[in-house]
């Protein structure tokens, strides 16, 4: 059994809406090993985003324990959480969240601005390397409005990679993309997972996307419904090769 990068024990998250209490997570427990590619599935409102926010240290659980890479997250201050996000986590959002009117390069550089140990030269080098990894080395100066949706998401992935995090968290990262572009993104994810050994937690509600991961946690009403290892893991590269390029009309 490889090292556990992430352990959650009986995580609960309640939202207080006036007098009403919304129980988004009602006690979720699982581990993620280093180098694993995990998808979290579930119907809308099942608590996927809430869980991912907690895993990404953007939110704190109401109850339960969360250990990330050996550190208990529960006791950390806001600033320590920010540092953790900067050093250990790369986020990819459904809406890309790139800065408008800002070049791809500068967008990717962004996380490094909040890491004072990195010089301006290193920052640029690392950003270019990350953009090369997502095959956008020829689009450094393009602003988001000059890029396609898939390219924008790849910039966002490069931004998630640039600080060399131990894990990448993606919330419906393919939700706004057509299926071909989705497969391209998944092929990129698989490559990062297999070649760079990045741990990936990927939220989706599309089963064909989940099929590219090694394991799927199914949520329902804030609880783990199923936690299954995916025996017949598909290669996104192969799937891409099998569909004709002239799919569109």
């Amino acid at each position: 059994m490889p090292d556990k990068i992430l352990e959650i024990r009986n995580i609960k998250r309640e939202f207080h809406m006036g007098t009403e209490i919304v129980r988004a997570l009602k006690g979720v427990t699982f581990d993620v090993a280093a180098g694993e590619f995990l998808t979290i599935m579930g119907s809308s409102g099942s608590g996927k985003t809430t869980l991912l926010n907690i895993l990404g240290c953007l939110d704190k659980p109401t109850a339960g324990e969360y250990i990330l890479d050996g550190t208990g997250v529960g006791k950390l201050s806001r600033n320590e959480l920010a540092k953790l996000r900067n050093h250990k986590i790369g986020f990819v959002f459904q809406a890309y969240n790139l800065l408008p009117r800002t070049s791809a390069l500068e967008n990717v550089e962004l996380p490094l601005f909040y890491n004072s140990s990195i010089s301006a030269r290193e920052r640029k080098q690392k950003a270019i390397k990350a953009l090369e990894a997502v095959k956008l080395a020829d689009r450094l100066d393009h602003t988001p409005s000059q890029l396609s949706g898939g390219q924008q998401q790849r910039v966002a992935i490069a931004r998630a990679l640039v600080n060399e995090p131990v894990m990448i968290l993606a919330d419906e990262a393919t939700g706004n993309l057509d299926s071909r572009t989705s497969y391209e993104i998944m092929a990129l994810m698989q490559e990062l997972n297999q070649q760079e050994g990045k741990t990936i937690v990927f939220v989706t509600h599309e089963p064909d996307i989940a099929a590219f991961s090694g394991r799927t946690v199914m949520l329902k009403d804030g609880k783990v419904l199923k936690d299954t290892v995916n025996e017949a893991k598909k290669s996104a590269k192969d799937v891409l090769a099998s569909i004709p390029v002239t799919d569109d009309y």
């Binding site: 926010n53 990404g56 953007l58 939110d59 806001r78 600033n79 920010a82 540092k83 996000r85 900067n86 050093h87 986020f91 959002f93 969240n97 800065l99 408008p100 009117r101 800002t102 500068e106 962004l110 996380p111 601005f113 909040y114 890491n115 004072s116 931004r159 600080n163």
Partner: protein, 406 residues
């Protein structure tokens, strides 16, 4: 997080919205420019008044008659008559701190030379008057004590009078002119002195022995003024006290009586006029300062809009590791950059405006370093003060809610 990075982030954010940044700056630019121009104009006029007054001789002392309370109804200073030749003699004999003394009595009238005539005033003075005023004759000679004793009909002409009653190139010295029908022998011409601090032409005057004016024109024994010059600039205070003492004795005033004369030093005059122009400067600066505050409110307004507009950006920055303080500083630095840049442009504009005022309106201006420094400081503080609350609002956002903001 180092500050250089934050400055870079703030600069990039401003670059993305150049026009808006400039429009926000405009308030500050106008505020600073007007502060600097107003202070420059105020200081300039103050300095020119001071210069003009001290060019008259900063150790000059003026004695005027003053209304006496015991006389019942207070009278206008010019109609009060208390100064006589006895006072001049007493001062000449007893005062130690006085180097020159001249009584003065003046009257208006028509100066005529042949077919040319000119309305002007004649000042009856003693020869020492020119020493007190630091004035010289350009041609001819000054009248003498003998002329004073005999009430001689001799006079010195100011340049303006010469220009108006003599043809160009004609030498006035030795000619006879008439003033109020009385013939006067022109024995000298005064060098041109130009306008005084209040815009009066100092050359529009005829000087004659005071006895002549008193006896032959006004038929009076009183003076309107006595001008005195202290031995030097440091003895003006002593001289003033001494003069008061001597005049009180000479006028036989009892200890309880108020002075029936007033002694003014040039310094007091300077202070009087300085304080008026100071008040004006303060007023103008206050108005300009208000526009600076309005500019600051403009910054605050735009920063609030900017924070709301960039809520998602703030959420994103937090999700990739920005701490609250990083966000706070980013927005604060943006506000400060706007105000400081506005300040710089404002300083440049203010200096240019002051120069233009001097060039085209020929108003004196004096750009003081302190006003530049002050408005710069105020700018920085405006940035911090008005930028802080929006920045704090940004830093306190919840990252998840900020990311979800539409």
């Amino acid at each position: 997080m180092n500050v250089m990075n934050l400055i870079r982030i703030a600069l990039r954010a401003l670059q993305r919205n150049k026009l808006r940044a400039f429009l926000t700056m405009l308030g500050i630019i106008i505020g600073v420019a007007s502060v600097i121009a107003m202070v420059a104009i105020g200081q300039g006029s103050k300095k020119s008044i001071q210069d003009a007054l001290s060019s008259m001789g900063s150790n000059m002392i003026t004695i005027r008659p003053n209304s006496n309370v015991t006389a019942g109804a207070r009278l206008d200073a010019t109609s009060v008559q208390t100064l006589t030749i006895d006072d001049v003699k007493a001062l000449q004999k007893q005062a130690q701190y006085i180097s020159f003394i001249s009584p003065a009595v003046s009257t208006r009238g028509q100066a005529i030379n042949g077919a040319l005539n000119w309305p002007t005033s004649m000042q009856g003075v003693s020869p020492q008057y020119l020493d007190i005023r630091k004035w010289h004759v350009k041609e001819g000679n000054v009248f003498t004590e003998a002329d004073v004793n005999t009430a001689a009909k001799v006079c010195l002409l100011g340049q303006t009078v010469v220009n108006n009653i003599f043809a160009p190139g004609e030498d006035p010295v030795g000619k006879i002119i008439r003033f109020n029908k009385i013939p006067f022998n022109v024995i000298g011409v005064l060098e041109a002195k130009g306008e005084n601090a209040f815009g009066q032409d100092q050359d529009d005057v005829i000087l004659a022995p005071f006895t002549t004016v008193q006896k032959r024109i006004l038929a009076t024994i009183y003076f309107q003024n006595i001008y005195v010059s202290a031995t030097n600039e440091n003895t003006t205070k002593l001289a003033t006290a001494e003069i008061s003492d001597i005049l009180r004795r000479s006028h036989r005033l009892k200890p309880a009586d108020e002075d029936d004369f007033a002694v003014r030093t040039q310094e007091e005059l300077i202070n009087t006029f300085s304080s008026t122009s100071q008040l004006l400067t303060i007023l103008l600066t206050a108005i300009a300062g208000i526009s600076l505050v309005v500019g600051g409110i403009g910054i605050m307004n735009i920063m609030y809009v900017s924070v709301t507009e960039r809520t998602r950006e703030i959420g994103l920055r937090m999700s990739i590791g920005a701490r609250g303080i990083d966000i706070l500083l980013q927005f604060l630095i943006e506000a400060i950059l706007i105000s400081i840049t506005g300040g710089l442009i404002g300083v440049a504009l203010g200096i240019t405006a002051s120069k233009l005022v001097t060039t085209f309106l020929s108003w004196p201006t004096l750009i003081s370093q302190s006003s530049i420094l002050l408005s710069f400081l105020v700018c920085g503080m405006t940035g911090v003060f008005f930028g802080y609350y929006p920045a704090q609002k940004a830093s306190r956002l919840d990252p998840i809610e900020a990311l979800r903001y539409e």
